[in-house]
């Protein structure tokens, strides 16, 4: 990608075709997970249920958007020699904000995401976008680029979460106020199940609960995406 600063004289917050592209490009053609191969770690660890995936996605969008904004605001002042450390400090502070806020608003989800919130810092999407885009672009455009990449990441995260929870637990949004019990389970692998736990006909697939299943699902997603979007096919 050749992303260079564009000289503009228009108002700061304009939203034209180029800006829209900043938001939509990462959803498919330049998806952070399936194309740029960035930020996989946390994607795999939290996606066994939809709800934490959604919270994680929102947290990442917040961090990418605002770290891009701040970095872009400071881009002319950041000393080149300590560039990485400055970027990391900005990211780490935003992640700390997320951690403190989550602890304040929703403690059970905070517990569930535990170590993985901290790992947003090393989520390469954030750092990657700062290096590739924010250091050379104006604040508003950097902000949009951050939101777009966060969204592209979030879409995959939630999609993996939906597949894993639906086939692994038979429900959707478990643990949230709007838990949907959809297809299962009929009977558990434990002998003494009480009837209240059975809400469908599906026998849970335990493979989907294992972290490895996220690898398979993303692998298959890449397969599907590249079958339609043939320009992404790896020729090597």
């Amino acid at each position: 990608m050749a992303e260079t600063a564009v000289k503009e004289k228009e108002s700061v917050f304009q939203f034209g075709k180029k800006e829209r592209k900043l938001l939509t490009d990462p959803l498919n053609d330049n998806n952070p997970i399936t194309v740029q191969v960035l930020g996989i770690c946390s994607a795999l660890a939290v996606t066994s249920l939809v709800y934490p995936s959604l919270v994680m996605a929102i947290a990442v969008i917040f961090v990418t958007a605002f770290s891009s904004l701040f970095t872009s605001l400071l881009r002319n002042y950041i000393p080149k020699s300590v560039r990485m450390i400055v970027q990391l400090v900005i990211i780490a502070s935003l992640v700390t904000v997320v951690e403190l806020t989550l602890k304040y608003l929703n403690y059970p989800v905070y517990k569930q995401l535990s170590v993985y919130i901290g790992l947003i810092i090393t989520n390469c999407i954030v750092m990657g976008r700062l290096e590739a885009f924010s250091m050379a672009n104006k604040p508003w455009r950097s902000f949009l680029d951050g939101v777009g990449n966060g969204l592209g990441y979030g879409v995959i995260l939630v999609a993996v979460g939906v597949v894993r929870e639906l086939f692994g637990k038979g429900s959707l949004f478990a643990g949230s106020p709007i838990e949907l019990k959809i297809i299962g389970p009929t009977a558990d692998y434990l002998v003494n199940t009480t009837d209240s736990m059975l809400f469908g006909w599906y026998a849970n697939n335990n493979l989907m609960v294992l972290p490895a299943s996220a690898m398979f699902i993303i692998g298959i997603m890449i397969w599907i995406q590249r079958s339609y979007n043939t320009k992404l096919v790896d020729v090597s």
Binding site: S48, Y77, I78, P79, K80, S81, V82, I85, V86, V89, S93, T96, V97, L100, T101, K103, Y104, Y107, P108, K111, G168, D188, Y189, L190, V191, N192, T193, T194, M197, N206, M208, V209, L210, P211
Partner: protein
């Protein structure tokens, strides 16, 4: 290339700005976060008496205020390893993780005495090792101090879908209901998680396929953890015997 002075000043200003704003946010959220954590832990303990909550409610139905009120009503003795009640300490102030690091003889054990419709329940806390990391739980005994009214387990890092099922699959904990920790002649046996299906209907529950180490961890944790409470249980039994 920037001068060293500029770099140093830049870093100092950045660090100061970050430190001040984060400390501010932390102070603003500190109290509420501590309350959240407290309620989270209390809900976990109440899960052990899930079937005996007021008006047939489930733990998830209770509001935060109701949770706090239920705990305010409970008697919360803390006992030492000889079964004597330690005065001036409430069970909810005991951190089991810290107690577990002490030498066995110095540990303090929390007891929550929950009362509903004239029935008494003794909620005891246990803690041990799973496959990866610590596991812990609460076991509620009925007033005979033998029959289990309910149990709940949690873990720090067991494998999702395998060991983590001790928490995620409510049917695992549900099996403990009605089991007894003593033989009919009064010998202590605790409850065992048996791989391949329980054989002794009174003292065993079914294991989780693929999670033998976690299941053994639960058995071991219950055996040792409940044994710590033996002196206390004996004393309570003796007292109620004298009263009758």
């Amino acid at each position: 290339m920037e001068s060293t002075k500029y770099v140093v000043i830049f870093i100092l200003i950045l660090t100061a700005a970050v430190a001040i704003s984060l400390t501010g946010l932390r102070e603003a959220t500190k109290e509420q976060s501590a309350t959240n954590e407290d309620i989270f832990n209390k809900r976990a303990i109440l899960t052990a008496v899930q079937d005996y909550l007021p008006n047939g409610q489930k733990v998830a139905d209770l509001t935060d205020e109701q949770v706090l009120e239920l705990f305010a009503q409970m008697k919360q003795p803390v006992v030492d390893m000889e079964g004597n009640i330690i005065e001036g300490v409430k069970a909810e102030s005991i951190d089991m993780a810290k107690e577990r690091k002490k030498p066995e003889a110095e540990r303090r054990l929390p007891v929550y005495v929950y009362e509903q419709d004239g029935q008494q329940f003794y909620i005891l806390s246990v803690r041990g090792n799973g496959l990866w990391d610590e596991i812990w739980g609460s076991v509620a005994l009925k007033s005979d101090l033998n029959t289990i009214a309910g149990a709940t387990f949690d873990h720090k890092g067991e494998t999702p879908g395998l060991g983590a099922e001790i928490k995620d699959n409510p049917s695992f904990a549900a099996q403990f209901e009605g089991k007894e920790i003593y033989e009919s002649d009064g010998d202590y046996v605790s409850i065992k998680v048996r791989k391949g299906g329980a054989r002794d209907p009174k003292h065993e529950v079914d294991g989780i396929s693929g999670a033998t180490v976690t299941a053994d961890g639960v058995s071991e944790m219950l055996y040792r953890g409940l044994k710590y409470y033996q002196p206390y249980i004996d004393k309570v039994k003796q007292q109620s015997f004298l009263l009758n």
